[in-house]
Assembly symmetry: C2
Homo-oligomer: 333 residues x 2
Amino acid sequence: MTTMNRQLVLRQRPKGLLAPGDLELVETPVPELNEGQALARMKYLSLDPTMRVWMATDSYLPAVPIGEVMRSFGFAEIVESKSPEYKKGDKVVGLTGLQDYTVVLPGDQRRFQKVPNIPFLSDTAFLGVLGLTGLAAFFGMEIAAPKKGETLVVSAAAGATGSIAGQIGKINGCRVVGIAGTDDKCKWLTEELGFDVAVNYKQADWKEKLRAATPQGIDIDFENVGGEVMQEVLSRMNLFGRVVLCGLISSYTKVDPGMASFQLALVKRLRIQGFIVIDFASRFTEAATKLGQWKMFGKIKDRETVVEGLEKAPEAINILFTGGNTGKLILKI
Amino acid sequence: MTTMNRQLVLRQRPKGLLAPGDLELVETPVPELNEGQALARMKYLSLDPTMRVWMATDSYLPAVPIGEVMRSFGFAEIVESKSPEYKKGDKVVGLTGLQDYTVVLPGDQRRFQKVPNIPFLSDTAFLGVLGLTGLAAFFGMEIAAPKKGETLVVSAAAGATGSIAGQIGKINGCRVVGIAGTDDKCKWLTEELGFDVAVNYKQADWKEKLRAATPQGIDIDFENVGGEVMQEVLSRMNLFGRVVLCGLISSYTKVDPGMASFQLALVKRLRIQGFIVIDFASRFTEAATKLGQWKMFGKIKDRETVVEGLEKAPEAINILFTGGNTGKLILKI
């Protein structure tokens, strides 16, 4: 008897939320295994916001082609093996796709990883806390470089990544404020996960609550959402704060031109950094010495646009904005 | 005979470009020096885009109060001294303000710095290449961390800061592309300063020219302008690119809501960083081990929302966007 494999195939790129017809459930026979192959049967599939991006557009991975099985991570068990690498009963995690079965090919270790049997870890932990969402929290918090006593705000805080990121913040001694969309989630964050405060952004006074929850301002924004929530968090950032762009889920299902630059920064892993030169005052002599040497040796050249007379200052300042100067604008007194 | 001091006093906060009445020229007598004081006479004043910000609003410095002498940097000479710290003829740079004279108070070294007599350096060099604009180029390029062979784009490239930043890029072995607003400026950049290409953004086809000038994409954006120019540069950024926010001059004289987040990032010296977890694949085992330990010792807790049945995947994916899950969303097969 041929075993059938149910697969969810991408038929069209979704607009907004997924609609009927975007993914189609089809059945195909599980192919006979060739030498070197193994058959994995899914036990658990990971459903992640990033899948909505994969359906819609090329990003950090190419979009899933129309007509192909939808890409996903999952946890599977080897049920048949003609491979020396796998034996029946082995457990694997990797890019399974949304389907019942997948054939594991020789040398597929980049796609699948065997998972050890650890008594106190459930199978699903390898998709969650130890999976890509937990790992995203881990590396995102590494980028955030939290310091003891700093205030961390996490959006989508009750999500798979946010909930772990906030707890890593607590491990690092931060004041942790979560933003979530129901009171139940907020309760879970504070009562079970140890968040200091959780704010329900669906309540009318959530901005005041966020303000009250962050009396020292915000040092780290672990950003999963974007849009209005992010703008509000940004407005409360402290000097030298860090904004870790992990996700911008509010703009995955609708167009948000205000988020375009951040989407770009996320997908291209950009680092955008503001600076003010006076912060470096203690190193001015060092830098001026270097600049002076470069100038002396002709490695850098400069030009000045000189305007004469104190009374000319107002109109001279304007030419900075109308493009009238080349090089440094100097007012000679 | 009393010496008079001409001063430009801020009378109202400018809208757009500076208009008559924003700064008023007044004359006041130079006060008699008290013991410990010195009198500095301005020779050169530095005119910088950031002054427009100081006139308008609190930022990294408080706004200049209405009725006070407009803040500026300048180069001055001590013309009279009752201070043991200064003698007649000493040259100083610092926060002079837009005026002819200023009294240097005891302990004013944070406001003024004596400049050495270096034969091959003009007085104005201490306001330009060795002044705050040159220093901004220096430290901004340090933040950019340029690597040999990378492509650096500098906006307002013929300005005091941009022209130095681009040359520091050349010193570091970068391909350097400048964006400026006249053909003369572009010519100066390429023919005298050694920029590889300069693009005049006032020409209709400047975006094509920028594209042609950056065949390998852009690794570093040394951003002085903001607005449309910045958006175009961002769209050509490479993976792991750096955007150094030095100035956003296009939004200093007009409101640009699209730049609000970047203005915030600039003034508050934020670091905004996008990341994708798969970039850290080589460290997954290390991180999963740590996460597993934290979970085992109860330092992190997790929760799962489990949906059963492959056919439920499409609607289950949607609850990620409608807030239906708490913790990790798992599809059980």
